[in-house]
């Protein structure tokens, strides 16, 4: 490569290496709302979906654990999980402030007899420093 070209490439490389992950990475989106194409459902599909929704609603309303309130304020936090006097309900989400805190999850699993369904990790909150991750956990049977 000639010198101007070489310099341009060097600049590109330097600019590239200067790129760092945004500071709010740890609180960023895990599973963003996917933009999906408009979908047309058939009548049987709609009927099936309605029936499913009704069943889910009934299950929630009749939940013997009483954990029907799944508003964000009801989710246990990481500190609550470690607080044995304030034990979390058997269903719900664990909120962790950053991805780095995932390292604490095995300990929690060991001490509290829970396991984690990691694919359900999802974002809580909007953009900014108050974001956190919710991890749905399941109880060992």
């Amino acid at each position: 490569m000639n010198e101007p070209g070489r310099n341009s490439l060097d600049h590109m490389v330097q600019n590239y290496r200067d790129i760092t992950i945004p500071a709010d990475f740890s609180g960023s989106v895990i599973q963003r709302q996917k933009k999906t194409a408009r979908t047309f459902f058939t009548v049987p599909q709609l009927a099936l979906a309605s029936a499913f929704a009704i069943i889910i609603t009934i299950l929630i309303l009749t939940d013997p654990s009483g954990q029907t309130d799944i508003t964000s304020s009801a989710y246990p936090t990481l500190s609550q999980l470690t607080d044995t006097t304030n034990w979390i309900p058997p269903r719900g989400d664990i909120r962790i402030p950053s991805l780095s805190d995932m390292g604490k999850l095995p300990d929690l699993a060991d001490t509290n007899g829970i396991d984690f369904n990691l694919p359900s990790l999802h974002k809580h909150g909007g953009a900014g420093p108050h974001q956190s991750y919710n991890i749905r956990y399941i109880q060992h049977t």
């Binding site: 101007p4 790129i19 990475f25 989106v29 599973q31 194409a37 995932m102 390292g103």
Partner: protein
């Protein structure tokens, strides 16, 4: 823990030292994010993909068999996740797209300095065949050694050298157009 090798960090993580995972994340997050930023169109997508890589790594590390370097493993996950991401998004991989199409696509997005740098880089490497693209990103942009690049790409060092030679030849042809 900064002086500890990735392999040792993985060993420690598997032995119950959960902090080791955090160190691994911090050590590789920038590099994986940069690569994802070039392989995908949007930086937000790159963040999502980077996190997905660490999610999968977290799940898989306990079964890691030390047949490869942890970064090589992370990189392969990244490539797979990027491919899945593109498939799910009904988009073709950035590797097959031209720079002009990309510029048109993101012209309405935030015109940040970083975005401009990424457009330039993509404009350069996206004109290369996939394997040459990879070798240029790893060897030239990430600065890996020939051996590291070969391990990461799962090929021989000689293959890396050959791909690099072809890529540089191609870039020379392109320099009047791009550089």
């Amino acid at each position: 823990m900064d002086g500890i090798s990735d392999t040792e960090l993985v060993r420690q993580f598997r032995q119950g030292d959960t902090h080791a995972f955090s160190v691994l994340v911090k050590r590789h997050q920038d590099r994986l994010y940069r690569l994802a930023s070039v392989y995908l169109y949007q930086q937000q997508d790159a963040m999502d993909v980077t996190q997905e890589v660490f999610m999968r790594a977290y799940k898989g590390l306990r079964g890691f068999r030390f047949h490869a370097e942890p970064f090589t493993w992370l990189y392969r996950i990244l490539i797979n996740v990027c491919a899945e991401f593109n498939r799910k998004s009904s988009r073709d991989s950035i590797l097959q797209r031209g720079a002009d199409e990309e510029i048109a696509r993101i012209k309405d997005s935030a015109n940040t300095e970083v975005t401009q740098h990424l457009i330039e880089i993509r404009g350069l490497v996206n004109r290369l065949p996939k394997r040459q693209h990879e070798v240029v990103m790893l060897r030239i942009f990430e600065g890996l050694s020939i051996e590291e690049t070969a391990r990461t790409m799962r090929c021989r060092p000689g293959t890396v050298k050959a791909l690099l030679h072809k890529a540089q030849k191609q870039l020379r042809l392109l320099e009047g157009d791009i550089l």
